[in-house]
Symmetry: C2
Subunit: 220 residues, 2 copies
């Protein structure tokens, strides 16, 4: 079956106080997005990438592809108003049966093992959502009150959130709701359960300058 | 009112694959525990510290105090079987009315501002639990099933968990339960609510070697 990674790099970088969106910042001399694309391309020879970028950064994305990859396994498409709309735009390019990975462009340290684990689980269960344990105690707010939650029941969600196209494509025809924070919540709103797989501690999201420093250390 | 920080450094460091417990590892040339103690000593001139260490590391702890601090605002006492028992040992030293900070020895990057914020809130509300937002989507396991939790309702809990002695001392006379992951859960089991305050992103817990590298970057 075809394998397609929809890499969403829609953010305009406002949280980092930098001009450049964080997916274009340099990590050991190469853009964050380089590492993300590279991880997917090397995981499967027949995997294709749909890169979703804000319209004003499509040219910058094309430059990265030309500089480092220089072949046609990667398509670029414009982003939307929210992450949901960006993913929706990316999915419009997909017509064939496939395993679809939806991945945050700024999670650039994922391993080939994680990509393969998600692929295999999505092939078997229809979906694969990578999660990790939470190291901290957790509290749940309920109005003015708050209560402890049993930490072992809490999982932190990562990407690539991976699905069979027969699930993801119809699910994304749904109307947008604010509660859609990721693809799993969209699929659930569509009426299906999602299957969890083990994520990776190092699969961090680069949202602040400190995260970039951390990523540098992790690359060592 | 008196101010007392119970710094719990009971871990024997098994997760780090190092001989030395993580609170003794060097961060820019000084032990992790040095930074933690220093943060509390400099926050209030009249604050005293009770340092709870595994029995076999009391001598090592005393060496740090002698090397860097060299005065008698710090007492050391032996740890217990669990964190609960270690804190209980530390609290046995306290008899007067006080604001008590219970703090993870390996959270060595907390700021004076956080210590003061916890103090002031505990003075007003009886308790102050520092929490931060969760950056990731969150799922709650329910048996075989799992469901999305509204991320804005989830808070990650840090230390110093700060209380008026009139609350914390009687609460810790309770029998130990496995669900006690922190002091807030003990106080709740005693029948009281806890008050949340804003924590700090940089107030990380050093539990792995990578965390030590991250801490080095954050100190820069």
């Amino acid at each position: 079956m075809k394998k397609i990674a929809v890499i969403v790099a829609g953010g305009s970088g406002t949280r980092m106080n930098t001009q450049l969106p964080k997916q274009f910042l340099l990590l050991n001399g190469k853009p964050v997005l380089y590492y993300t694309i590279h991880a997917f391309l090397q995981s499967y020879k027949d995997l294709q990438i749909i890169l979703v970028l804000p319209d004003e950064y499509i040219a910058a994305g094309q430059e990265i592809i030309d500089a480092y990859f220089n072949y046609n396994r990667i398509k670029i498409t414009g982003g939307g108003r929210t992450r949901f709309h960006s993913v929706q735009n990316g999915l419009q390019q997909i017509t064939e049966d496939s395993i679809i990975f939806v991945h945050d462009g700024v999670r650039c340290l994922l391993s080939t093992e994680l990509i393969k684990r998600c692929h295999d689980a999505a092939l078997e269960h229809g979906s694969a959502i990578p999660v990790i344990d939470c190291k901290d105690s957790v509290r749940l707010l309920r109005g003015e009150e708050n209560e402890a939650v049993e930490r072992s029941n809490i999982k932190l969600v990562q990407t690539p959130q991976t699905f069979h196209s027969k699930i993801l494509l119809p699910a994304f025809k749904i109307d947008f709701k604010d509660k859609f924070t990721d693809e799993a919540t969209v699929v659930e709103a569509f009426g299906l359960k999602v299957h969890l797989v083990e994520g990776e501690e190092n699969n961090i999201k680069i949202t602040k300058l400190t995260d970039l420093l951390i990523a540098e250390k992790l690359l060592e």
